[in-house]
Structures are given as structure tokens and as C-alpha cells.
């Protein structure tokens, strides 16, 4: 069980080498196969996640959620996906056509790129980058451009407002997000995500860095544009924010990307604070799936509990509370580390 996927990958490489390919090209083919797997995982995950989200929201609101199609409404999302695939792709006439059309594509590409560095099990990482965490944060910051493209390209005031809010919010919350993760990096002594996982062999970093965890969680919610920080979408005032003009598959791509980001951020949270793929008994890849899903459930729980926060409160919360707290945590961690070293406990 533990080595299923690594064994498959090794077998594939061996087979390719047996066909006479050089090691570099075999690795290249393996990389492509891994990407395809990631895209598949992302798509299937989104189908499950949308169903889960609707179920969770229903339960919280004393409803049943989808329960018509299949057992417990499990096929509802599949039906929705088919509907979206077959829908007409409407491009409004006065949009900035190329920007409008390519924005969802870039958005989904950026979201899928996040998965390159996430350790999805023992030795199951597409690229074990020595600055994996920085990679995650910087690639994540690119999604602001995609949202801005969508908002600008739509040539619609709601879209533009939504995009501007999204960008302002994402840029503001990126800073506390990165700084809160720095505390973990200081303890682990590496930006390599697999090193960070290994460093949590004895104790999860959520226990060593509780403040960092809380700030990360809040900032990540804002980065994902999820409730209670879903100002960019704010259905009641902006219809759907930057996605207002999108239809059919392009809209579905945005949706896909949002949930892809959710999974990625939750997986990063599990990796950084909850010991990643480490856990007793079960295989490593199952552990990270369990942890990621539990964190996502908490995200959903928060989304359906709290009301939306006003835009200026959102911004002042980021700059006046979250950023000082995460900076203080950074300083505290530094002093703590030195203190521990001085006492000889580290």
C-alpha cells in the first residue's frame, strides 16, 4: 500500500528506459504523466468538493443539501459539470476579447502549477524544489493577475470592481501569509517542503507555532477569496465579481481553479503545520488526503458560519492586526529559537 504510486512511477521509468530512451527523456515523460495525474486528481477532487461544500452548507443550515441524484446526491456535481460543458460559450461583444478568453486558462494553469511542490506522500512530489515554499507563494501571487485580466476583459463595472477588490485583498493578505509561514521555516531550517515534513517527525508545528497557524489560516481564507472574506465575489452586490460575464466552460474553469487553490492551500497547511504525510498505520498518501480534507472541512465550516466582512474592515484587519501579529510571531520565534539553543534544548 505504502509504495503503490512510487512503484508505478519507477516501473514506468524502467519500461521507458527499456525502450531505449535516455534517463533525462524518461524523467521528462514521467513528469508529463505526473502532470496529467495532477490534473485528473484536481478535476475529480473538485467534483467531490463541490458536492461536499453543498452538503456541508446544507447541514449547517438545517437542510439536506443535494439528495436527488444518486446516493446522497453524489452525482449532482457530475450532472452540473456536464451541463456546464455543453453550455454555450458567450463572449460579450465589447469585451477585450483575448484577455477575456485567456484569463480562465491562465488561472487554472497557475492553480495546477501549485501542486508541483506539494509532497503528496513519502517521496511523492513532482519537483522537490529547494525553495518549494517560496515557489508556492510566488506562483500563488500570479493568480491576482488572472483575476485582474478577467475583470478588465469583461468590460463590466461589477467585474472590474470585483477584480480590484480581489487584487487588493490578495496582495494585502499575501504578506501576513508569507510572514506567518516564515516562523515554520525558521524552526525547520529549510524552504524545502519535504524537509519541513520530516522536521515534524516528533511534534507538529501547529503546537510550536499556534499563532502562525491562526494567521496563516485567516490569510489563506482571504487568499482563496472564500467566505467570510469573499468580497471579490460578494453575490449580493457584485453578482459574481470578476466572473460575472463568464459562461459555460470558461466559468467552470474559474470554479475549478478556485477549488484547486483550496485543495492546494489546505494541502500546504497540512504540510506546514500538521506533519504532512506523516502518520501512524495508514500509507502516507492516505494521511495527507485525510488531513487535507479535514482542513478543507474547517474552511467550509467557517465559510458557512461567518457573515461577510466589509471591504475596509478586511483591509484594515490585514494591515493593522494580522501583519503586526505575524511579525511579532516572527520575532518571538527568533528569540525562542535562540533561547532554546542557549539552554541547549534544541
Amino acid at each position: 500500500m505504502e509504495h503503490w504510486f512510487t512503484d508505478i512511477a519507477q516501473a514506468l521509468v524502467n519500461w521507458l528506459m527499456g525502450l531505449g530512451l535516455s534517463a533525462g527523456w524518461a524523467d521528462f515523460v514521467l513528469l508529463i504523466v505526473q502532470w496529467l495525474c495532477i490534473v485528473m486528481i484536481v478535476t475529480i477532487n473538485v467534483i467531490i468538493l463541490i458536492w461536499l461544500e453543498r452538503k456541508v452548507s446544507g447541514f449547517i443550515q438545517l437542510r439536506l443539501g443535494p439528495n436527488r441524484l444518486g446516493p446522497y446526491g453524489a452525482f449532482q456535481t457530475i450532472a452540473d459539470a456536464i451541463k456546464l460543458l455543453t453550455k454555450e460559450d458567450i463572449i460579450p461583444s465589447r469585451t477585450d476579447k483575448w484577455i477575456f478568453m485567456t484569463a480562465p486558462l491562465f488561472f487554472i494553469v497557475v492553480s495546477v502549477m501549485l501542486y508541483a511542490v506539494i509532497p503528496m506522500g513519502d517521496g511523492m512530489q513532482v519537483v522537490d524544489f529547494n525553495v518549494g515554499l517560496l515557489y508556492f507563494i510566488s506562483i500563488g501571487s500570479l493568480s491576482t493577475i488572472c483575476l485582474l485580466m478577467a475583470g478588465w476583459g469583461s468590460n463590466n463595472k461589477w467585474s472590474m470592481l470585483g477584480a480590484m477588490r480581489a487584487v487588493a485583498q490578495m496582495i494585502s493578505y499575501e504578506i501576513p501569509l508569507a510572514i506567518s509561514l516564515l516562523g515554520v521555516v525558521m524552526i525547520a531550517g529549510s524552504l524545502r517542503l519535504s524537509d519541513i515534513v520530516v522536521a515534524q517527525g516528533n511534534i507538529w508545528f501547529v503546537l510550536l507555532q499556534p499563532i502562525a497557524f491562526i494567521t496563516y489560516f485567516i490569510a489563506a481564507t482571504a487568499e482563496l477569496n472564500r467566505g467570510p472574506f469573499d468580497m471579490p465575489e460578494a453575490e449580493q452586490e457584485l453578482t459574481a465579481g470578476a466572473y460575472t460575464e463568464y459562461t459555460g466552460m470558461r466559468w467552470a474553469l474559474f470554479f475549478l481553479a478556485e477549488y484547486t487553490n483550496l485543495v492546494a492551500v489546505s494541502a500546504l497547511c497540512a504540510t506546514m503545520f500538521f506533519g504532512g504525510w506523516q502518520g501512524p498505520g495508514l500509507p502516507s498518501w492516505l494521511w495527507i488526503i485525510i488531513k487535507t480534507y479535514l482542513i478543507m472541512l474547517v474552511f467550509m465550516w467557517m465559510k458557512w458560519t461567518f457573515p461577510r466582512i466589509r471591504m475596509d474592515h478586511l483591509m484594515s484587519f490585514s494591515w493593522k492586526i494580522l501583519l503586526p501579529v505575524s511579525l511579532a510571531n516572527l520575532v518571538l520565534t527568533g528569540f525562542g529559537l535562540e533561547f532554546f539553543k542557549w539552554m541547549g534544548w534544541w
Binding site: 521528462f28 484577455i99 517560496l134 515557489y135 501571487s141 493577475i145 485582474l148 472590474m160 487584487v167 496582495i171
Partner: protein, 171 residues
């Protein structure tokens, strides 16, 4: 000629960067130019990656593509009040064109000259082991004072910008 995978990657990335940079200059819509600028930054970041400077490439993406370009796009959007298709036309002013041409010749000349007169070693020895650690050692060890000075400069710039935007209080 023998082309390795790394060479191929460099050629593709350099071509991409140049094309997008040309796009920045030639597009008539300045928003398109700004988005091309983002791609150009990404291309430069890709070149850093091929040279095993992952940290630098990621900082390039985070700071330039993720933040600075958004600022540029915001600034463009906020001040633009005419037909977007005519926002990035060449200047009709002859002295402007002359100045631009002069500057271009100067820059290209300086670049070509510096490449021409520098003696590149045949093969740079690859950085052994932890290139990130080396970079950190340089930045926070030998060059910590310039780094902190640069940070101070940026801080002063931010404070100045806020004062300009909000207006200083006169007592």
C-alpha cells in the same frame, strides 16, 4: 550542432521574453502592453531557473510579476479615460522620437560593448551544493549593510508616498 535540453529551454525562454518585450512596445492598447510585461517578467524568471537560480527566479515572479505589474496595471486603469485602443501609440512629436532613438542606440551600444569587452570564462564552475545558503550568507553576512540600506530606502519611499498621497499636516 549539439543542442542539449537546457539549451533548448534557454532558446525558448529567451525567444518568449523577447517577443513579449516587443509586445510591450508595439501593442496599441496599453493594458495589453502591461500584461505582456508580466509575461516578459515570467520569461526572465524562467531564464533564472535554467541557470539554477531558483530563489532569484521566484523572487522575480513574486515581486515583479505578482506585485509590481499589478501596481502598473492599476495605475494604468486608474488614469486611463480614453479609448483603450489608442493608449499606446507612438509619439507624434519629432524631438521625442529623436530622443528615443538616441537613447536606444546608446543602450544597445552599451550592452553590446559590455558583452564584447568582457572576457567570459569558457565554463563557469557550477555552484556546489547549497546555492540558496550561499546567497543568504552573502546577503545577510558580507553585504548586510547595503541590504539594510536598501530596505531603509524603500521604507522612506513608502512613507514619502503616503505623505504625498494624504498630504502632510501643516501646523
Amino acid at each position: 550542432m549539439d543542442i542539449s535540453l537546457a539549451d533548448l529551454a534557454f532558446i525558448i525562454l529567451a525567444g518568449f521574453t523577447l517577443l513579449t518585450a516587443l509586445g510591450v512596445v508595439l501593442f496599441k492598447n496599453i493594458v495589453h502592453s502591461a500584461i505582456m510585461l508580466v509575461f516578459s517578467f515570467l520569461g526572465v524568471a524562467g531564464i533564472y531557473f535554467t541557470m539554477h537560480a531558483g530563489f532569484l527566479g521566484l523572487v522575480q515572479i513574486l515581486v515583479y510579476a505578482g506585485a509590481i505589474s499589478v501596481l502598473i496595471i492599476f495605475a494604468i486603469m486608474l488614469v486611463m479615460n480614453q479609448d483603450p485602443e489608442k493608449t499606446n501609440l507612438p509619439s507624434p512629436n519629432i524631438p521625442n522620437i529623436m530622443a528615443g532613438t538616441y537613447l536606444t542606440i546608446l543602450l544597445v551600444g552599451a550592452l553590446v560593448g559590455s558583452i564584447w569587452f568582457t572576457s567570459f570564462p569558457e565554463k563557469v564552475a557550477p555552484v556546489s551544493g547549497d546555492e540558496l545558503g550561499l546567497l543568504t550568507g552573502l546577503m545577510l553576512g558580507d553585504y548586510v549593510i547595503p541590504l539594510e540600506l536598501a530596505a531603509l530606502l524603500l521604507l522612506v519611499a513608502v512613507v514619502g508616498a503616503i505623505i504625498l498621497a494624504r498630504g502632510a499636516e501643516h501646523k
